[in-house]
Amino acid sequence: MAIDPSMPILVVDDYKTMVRIIRNLLKQLGFSEVDDAADGTEALQKLKDRKYGLIISDWNMEPMTGYELLREVRGDESLNRTPFIMVTAESKTENVIAAKKAGVNNYIVKPFNAATLKNKIDAVFGE
């Protein structure tokens, strides 16, 4: 699957600085359509309103976590093929295993760098 740099990407994080960092990194990687949501609930609403090519989500958010968002996305026929990358400070093995079992496409441990983000996006799209 080739990466379309114009595909809309949804960044989900309750920490505005992190949204800003990921948005800037994505722009540097050539992605121009970056949208954001502050938690899983807001993300789900945005996912219903618009078709996104990639979801990049934090895990620990209120009221709906990234883990719950992942389960909701994978349980919804209209969304379950959307690539999902978890970018999180949840750095226990059980978290990675649980995310994988729930159908995450890739997992990035914070803190991370631009190269890691690029590698994981490339891996998700098979490049």
Partner: protein
Amino acid sequence: MARTNQKPHLCAKGAQSPCRNRTGREPSLANFMQLAERMADAMEGQQAQFDRKVCSELRDISADITEMRREIERLRACELSDRHLPEASEDLGATLEATSTATNSIMECVETILQADRENSDEFAVLVIDQVVQILEACTFHDITGQRVTRLTETLRDVEDRLGQFATAVGTRAEAQPRSAEFMAREERRARLLLNGPQSAGKAISQNAADDIMSAAEVEAASQDDIDSLFD
């Protein structure tokens, strides 16, 4: 009890009275009075014994309270609530504010560089150096926040020590204290949704280890039931 000369009607006429004495005669008021006085004497003795036990218990309780007061004084709770904890709260607030301000300053500089016109390399170089200097200036927050966090850590250690000594002195058991429903609900959510938070160095999984798990075939074989069980 008020004494009276009137003979009371104790039992119904002709009925087998449970009030009759051993001789089969109805007891007189004098008999009742004697009985009442004997009972009062007996109870007085028991009352005195009971009073001695109560006094002994009260003395023990008083001694415990005195000891408890002494331990509370050693805890210096007023010092904590008047000075250390407000200072810690202030340090935390100031640290958050300083990191937030510095982060915003750095982000603005970075975005200015990223969005700058690169056609004229000389102008671009001047702009980059100017922004980098501003980034360096913003990083000076670390010295002050570092000192504040150090003070916070010391306060927390102090509180931990004092509470530990207090708990040992008064013989409390942690498991004896019931947790609030709010606390239990929060803990249940944390456990159910694997909200472990950032791990300290050495405990946190590396990106390479996360990659290994992501590429491990056996994890992929999990059924929907396995996933659901994580939420049960």
